[in-house]
Amino acid sequence: MTTLDFSPRPGAAPLPRMVLAQAGAEARAMLRNGEQLLLTMIIPILLLVGFSQAALIDVSGSRIGFVTPGILSLAVMSTAFTGQAIATGFERRYGVLKRLGATPLSRTGLLLAKTCAVIAVEIVQVVVIGAVALALGWSPQGDPLWVVLLVLLGTAAFSGLGLLMAGTLRAEATLAGANLVYLLLLGLGGVVFPLTKFPDGVRPVLELLPITALTDGMRSVLENGAGFPTGPVIVLACWTVAGLGLAARTFRWE
């Protein structure tokens, strides 16, 4: 039998090391989980290929140029909102969050780790989806800086909503709810179906959805080469403040 030196030598690791370790664990968990991959990779890529190759929608310019920004937005939503809500809901249910609370990793550290993990997965998504789109003839326009800004702001807004759901509902309700919202926003938020197809009366409402703001902004930059996407940035910023603010007030750790 090995003998170990159990003599006390307590101490917390530096915050960056803790955050990195936890972020790595969360990113690995997301990329290994089959259902998560279905939402974050398989569905977006199938939609990208399907809607850019078949004449399912009627757009003025190139189909791939229209579809790709929408699919990139969907990818952000799938990871920051759906994936994060479901994973966090079950972490709460299985006592994982409670157990982590007994370690030196603070709640701030845990949230930082979750954010890093989401961004890491998003980078993988953008690389894969971007590669498929380029292979299909996509030629992105605009300033990449605005794309990064939109992705980060979208991540913050969707993370707030995901954590709000995960921190208040039962894990099963979060699972069902997060998938339902994913489908609804996929259909209503201009991901692949242009907003112009909806009646004039509902359009102003749909334009206030976080997914619509994100697809709008991404399309204005990547398809039309527009500058700073003011409108979408304001809408996403409002959702971020509301979502994260409410989540911070209501989140139950166990």
């Binding site: 030196d5 159990f6 006390p8 803790m18 790595g24 664990a25 079950f90 299985y94 030196p104």
Partner: protein, 310 residues
Amino acid sequence: MRAGGSASGAGAAVEISGLIKRYGRTTAVDGLTMACGRGEVTAILGPNGAGKTSTIEICEGYRRLDAGTVRVLGLDPADASLRPRLGVMPQAGGVPPAARAGEWLRVVSRFYAHPLDPGALLDLLGLTEHARTPYRRLSGGQQQRLSLAAAVIGRPELVFLDEPTAGLDPQARHACWDVVTGLRDAGVSVVLTTHHMDEAEKLSDHVVVIDHGRVVAEGSPETLTGAERQLRFRARPGLNLDELLSALPPGSAAKESPAGHYIIEGQVGPQLLATVTAWCATEGVTAEDLSIERRTLEDVFLELTGRELR
């Protein structure tokens, strides 16, 4: 008891005074006062629902108390500076079901400044060959051992173990006991809850029996079981003990529990032994496994907390 260890006073690892915890109308902990000495193993015993887990979870900083005071290593349990100094093994769960045992332990080790080597710890607890197994595929005993590993990996000063050996097979129980003994020898304070009386008797310096949210007895296993001896033997079930009792000195007691196992209490000496064996001879029974022993902790426990199921 180890030198320097004291179950009370300013140096205690845990000090609880007048602790009250309610859930709605139920009072789970009802004015509990106890202390756990530094460098000692303290076992908290009690029937299901006695308030053990509530008490431990308040010490761990998970739950808020409704009244009373709790000091852990001299600090408020909510104090964040305590986190690296404490090791916690919850009763169940706490690990993502899909996480691989070895990877998860390595992640936890990265939260501490001077962690034990995760590989060596897996080895010590017989989990090396399961290092790549997802948590949900581990057996109950393996999950418990992984949880124990995580509780000690940060080299804490004080470890809380909530039913560490529940559901373990004998080998795993012994591995767990070795860890607890190793912690104690290294000067770590350990507070554990258990339903196994033999475990409390073997491992702990200090035993606290709680029931209905209060301390009903405490002391070292030796003081709790007392100096009193018992005479025990086995024979065919259903012997009439009334005759024996009338032959024994006043103040003696005799009972059959369970069937076929007889326990005689009182002034256990040569006279009593002679009386009992003489009575056995007249009954025509051979007393098997005849022995004179101290009461076990289990006897004390049942006496204190009653025999009704809850």
